[in-house]
Amino acid sequence: MANYSSNQFKNGMKVMIDGDPCSMVDVEFVKPGKGQAFTRVRLRNLLTGRIWERTFKSNESAESADVMDTDMEYLYNDGEMWHFMDPKTFEQVAADQNAVGDAAKWLKEQDKIVVTLWNNNPISVTPPNFVELEVVETDPGLKGDTAQGGSKPATLSTGAVVRVPLFIEQGEVLRIDTRTGEYVSRAN
């Protein structure tokens, strides 16, 4: 594995910190006019999701982490594991609850998902920014109320519950922003 010295650190770089793979969220060069330089890095632990700041001296280094974001297709959930397939190699991987986390509620079969592999094991799953999901349960729509505000909860086919406008009916397909968990529009 390669070693990166702290002056090579860049946003997005994946390194091993205290035995865990981490991603650099923000890298700042801190240099008092007199005195040695430091590199202050906001890190995200890719296993736990924890975000924190660590400061490195200029001669420190970090080992690169064998972390790869891979485009995969979501296949199914067997009750315990979520199964994904690389559409190019047809290789399959199974991710557990820890790796899938909150993304579970946005996973629709056959959707394209980014699976993050560390040493070829899935450690996290990122759904597309927008998904289209069917409403399986919500209060009946209010006729004529297409313009005013107001919202109600709706349960989607994956189990996710989102706030939707009052005019949305059961059976409709909605476009949802998975980063905020918010309703965007009806799907066309």
Partner: protein, 322 residues
């Protein structure tokens, strides 16, 4: 896709504002009868400071053949002091300076430094003049003065002059994740300063009376509590370091000792050994007038005038576009 790499980093209206600040600075010194000078950007000698790395330039009488290794200045300080010793009187200059490896939101490997020297001034008088200059550019700025020890005592309950290495290290680790080792007290003081205290410095604050170990080229004196302190100050504006000044060292033997100490520290840290500026020592031996001097980052001053927080807003072409 349209190629945009040719474009300046900063918007043109910011560069107009920058031009005005440069004119204000020159007017300020003209009114005070301080002479504008220029000194070489390329020198046979490099800065001794272990934590400032000079860029090297190859000079030769034929292309590709090096006859002499030269160094881009990291500050015009050495040459300006040689002028002072030669009888120049009060002088200032705005010059490009170069620092290897320094690149970030508030750092660019080349930047514009304003440096000036005032005969008969001490650090307090010079701080007042720095304040006057800053007020020309940013009239509404509130300015405070605080000693390095008072800052540490007020914010951390720590005496920076007397705290042990272990105490400083422990205090650092309470505030930040910095698991490395370092047996230099100054490293931990610098960490506390840059990571914990600077972000708390709102408005313009002069921090003065630094620990003697950080004297650089400043005189050392005793403070009211009998502690050895450097006659050095720094100006921070909203946590950004803007200027660094000294009641200048005039003692040639002490100057020679500090250059050699820097060189030894460089060796211990595995840093390059470069020619020391012995002509500075000779100039002090010949006699340099009592004076105070300060360096101020012009790009950062323009940032302050425009209320922006990154250098690329005020520099025509940053490193990546140069």
């Amino acid at each position: 896709m349209q190629e945009t790499g040719w474009r300046p980093s900063a918007p043109i209206e910011n560069l107009r504002a920058r031009g005005k600040v440069l004119a204000q600075i020159r007017r300020f010194f003209a009114q005070r009868e301080v002479l504008e000078v220029e000194t070489p950007v390329l020198s046979k000698c490099a800065v001794s400071d272990p934590f400032i790395d000079s860029l090297e330039v190859s000079f030769g009488f034929q292309p590709g053949v090096e006859d002499e290794r030269l160094y881009l200045q990291t500050s015009p300080e050495y040459a300006m002091k040689r002028l002072l010793a030669a009888g120049s009187g009060d002088i200032y200059q705005m010059a490009k300076v170069f620092r290897n490896g320094e690149s970030g939101r508030r750092h660019n490997p080349e930047f514009t430094m304003l440096e000036w020297y005032r005969l008969g001034f001490d650090d307090r008088q010079l701080m007042a003049e720095v304040e006057a200059l800053i007020r020309e550019v940013v009239p509404e700025l509130q300015v405070r003065y605080l000693s390095y020890a008072d800052l540490f005592e007020q914010e951390l309950g720590l005496d920076p002059h007397r705290a042990t290495l272990e105490q400083l290290q422990q205090r650092c680790r309470e505030h930040l994740d910095a698991p490395f080792d370092d047996d230099d007290r100054d490293t931990w003081l610098n960490l506390l300063m840059s990571h914990v205290l600077e972000p708390r410095l709102k408005g313009a604050v002069f921090i003065h009376s630094y620990p003697a170990s950080m004297a650089a080229l400043a005189q050392v004196r005793k403070d009211a509590q009998g502690r050895q302190v450097a006659a050095r100050f720094e100006l921070f504006v909203d946590g950004v370091e803007l200027a660094n000044g000294y009641h200048e060292l005039t003692d040639a033997a002490e100057q020679a000792r500090r250059l050699n100490a820097d060189q030894l520290q460089r060796a211990a840290l595995g840093l390059p050994q470069r020619p020391l500026e012995q002509r500075l020592v000779q100039a002090l031996e010949a006699g340099i007038p009592e004076c105070a001097g300060v360096a101020l980052g012009v790009d950062r001053l323009v940032m302050l005038a425009l209320g922006v927080d990154s250098l690329e807003q005020v520099v025509s072409f940053m490193h990546e576009r140069a």
